[in-house]
Symmetry: C2
Subunit: 407 residues, 2 copies
């Protein structure tokens, strides 16, 4: 059996925690060939970025990647040493040594291929391979550049290695017990899900659930790697992210409630309502990599209309500066913004085949007196835009309405 | 013109100091293609070793190398960023990226070859290359192992790159002004030398002068790389280590006084004086990598003799445990040790051709009432073993006797 495990930065933030992780790995390594992906210790990455910023306002991406990659290179060697202390034959590998070949794009390189020649050799010689997460190399030569994979990078490393090794299991260890029906800090009755489909997990991640980055889930879906998300601090069962199966659909068509209160709304007032307006507004935003979500266009009156849409708060300023010149071009009157917005979503693969969930959702919100400002849907998700102050009651009302406390 | 510069860990221990180093490099880079070798920041290496030792008593060499190499990888990227802030086009390279190919021997790998393909490309494209010192890679493939070069490793990296690039200058920047006639903390009248020959520098380093590790000097001698040792904190001229030339010999045959008070003496009492005794004593020590220095054998009396020799204090316990079984074998009576020994040396290439220096040295020590316990010589050095308490007066007396305050 081949197992890939991944431990995040908070699981290896001290030598004490590293020792505990080593014990867990030693246990698993009795019955399997193992590759372990590890993040940088605790706040190492943030500290390195701060040091770089002390020297230059906008650090060059290539140099920053080379600097940040030392964090995982160090933690992988440290974890290998901790495994030796447990009597486990272990060897650490950089991303490059493990064969992670990426684009030549600093800070957010995508993996082009995995060449697990050395990794397989190490596993076949009976060693646990501890691989530095979050990083790769642009070619299989020693003089090639070191890159980092960007957000969700270590999870992505783990899933990519699981795919390349045709691993039997891919286990992502983090500081929560798994994927929940909703955020337990908002709704204490939230239940841990034993399984969730790739699609549902992608919608949950896309709508604010922070357990796993969607990029790694997408890769898992593409290569059919089942991903277990579990807690590195205990032995609870975790959540298995896998292909949807019949039994999952039958159980409960709504699997979870996601929420995201990092939402800003922009409203373009009194735009002449003629063809091409939407393109003129949204094309420059897309070119500037601003993600636009819930779009609402009012019914036209006297040839004028209002268009509103949401972005993340972090992208609000960028969106405003991109739109400033466009406003004149399209003859709009004014751009107003509101940072106190939020989204709540119901997610479940059953939504696609069962009508009636939308009205059940709207009803639940309405009975709490919560005003719905906008709506978007996907095949397996319905999202309502609401005021930020209503997030908690909305999540609780929906959790109850869809009987998720009994999930 | 091609210049290689090296900055030690104390020169880059803070972002402030790194900024200063970047300014110096920016200045030099106006008129030359530059490769800059950098050590890990301040105490980074010691901190990483301490962390490894927290997890396992005897850390595996390969993993420790991989861990320690992150120190120089980080400082090279940081220095490249600091150079960008000075408007200098710079790129950092790991030892592997710079083409330093080494033996597969952890912790003290010797350089097998330098393959400066990428390094030359970067220099030819107008960039300053900042190379991580102290490290190499075992092959030119991305999956090869990372090694460290051991003591004096960053100096050795600099000299090796200077040789491979056929550099016009190799400049080692450190926290002292250069090579002095003797330790200025012992003799304030000590003078900085403008030049010194490879041979003299090797004897100085071998006899306790800490300015530069002999390994890098040997490499410089072999590839005829002239090495400038200078202070990174000021603009004094430094000392140029180069091939001996006639003018150097004429000036002053004794160039410097070295001292080493980290010396222990072992005396084997009442050994039967028969052929092969020396071999039986010293061969096991050599096999255990214990460096034996000043050896004195007393005139035999009643078929018995005493043999004494010195080792560094750090190797005393090892030497004792190696000799314990040998004592019985050779029928010796007792092994006594004395940790309070020291060596003073006069060094100068003129010593080889001018007799009379030995008696001048013995006279100077004798007139201070200093007892000489043993003597060793090389072609260009005379060393006297004395009691540790006499080191300072001995150094001062010799410095004066050979008129080095006028060097």
């Amino acid at each position: 059996m081949i197992v890939v495990q991944k431990y995040g930065g908070s699981s290896v933030s001290t030598t004490e925690k590293i020792r505990n992780v080593a014990k867990r790995i030693a246990e698993s390594a009795r019955n399997a060939q193992m590759a372990v992906v590890v993040s940088a210790m605790g706040d190492t990455t943030d500290e390195l970025i701060a040091m770089a910023r002390e020297l230059t306002v906008l650090p060059d991406g290539r140099e920053l990647d080379k600097l940040l990659a030392t964090g995982e290179q160090a933690s992988s060697a440290i974890l290998a040493l901790a495994l030796h202390a447990q009597g486990v034959n272990a060897v650490s590998l950089t991303g490059g040594q493990a064969g992670i070949i990426t684009e030549k794009v600093p800070s957010k390189a995508r993996i082009l291929k995995v060449d697990p020649k050395r990794l397989k050799e190490e596993l076949n010689s009976g060693k646990v391979a501890v691989v530095a997460g979050f990083q790769g190399i642009t070619d299989n030569a020693s003089w090639a550049d070191i890159t980092t994979l960007g957000r969700g990078g270590s999870d992505t490393t783990a899933v990519a290695l699981a795919a390349a090794l045709k691993a039997d299991r891919c286990e992502i260890y983090t500081d929560v017990d798994g994927v929940f029906t909703t955020d337990p800090r908002v709704e204490p009755a939230a239940q841990k899900l034993d399984t969730i489909s790739y699609e549902e997990m992608l919608e949950m991640a896309g709508q604010g659930a922070r357990v796993m980055h969607s990029r790694a889930v997408e890769l898992g879906e593409l290569y059919e790697v089942e991903i277990l998300v579990a807690n590195s601090a205990n032995n609870t069962q975790g959540t298995l992210i896998k292909k949807e199966d019949q039994s999952m659909e039958v159980r409960n068509p709504v699997r979870g409630i996601a929420h995201d209160d990092d939402v800003a709304r922009l409203t373009v007032l009194s735009v002449p309502d003629k063809p091409g307006i939407a393109y003129q507004l949204f094309n420059p935003l897309a070119d500037s990599n601003v993600n636009v979500d819930v779009i609402v266009q009012n019914v036209s009156q006297d040839g004028l209309t209002d268009v509103s849409f949401t972005v993340s708060n972090a992208e609000l300023e960028k969106a405003k500066s991109v739109l400033a010149p466009v406003m004149k071009e399209i003859g709009a009157k004014e751009l107003v913004t509101d940072e106190n917005m939020a989204k709540v979503s119901i997610i479940g693969s059953g939504i696609r085949s069962h009508p009636g969930y939308a009205s059940q959702m709207f009803g639940a919100l309405s009975s709490e007196g919560i005003n719905i400002i906008g709506i978007t849907t996907s095949e397996i998700r319905i999202t309502c835009l609401i005021n930020k102050e209503n997030v908690k009651p909305a999540v609780r009302a929906l959790h109850k309405a869809f009987k998720l406390e009994k999930a």
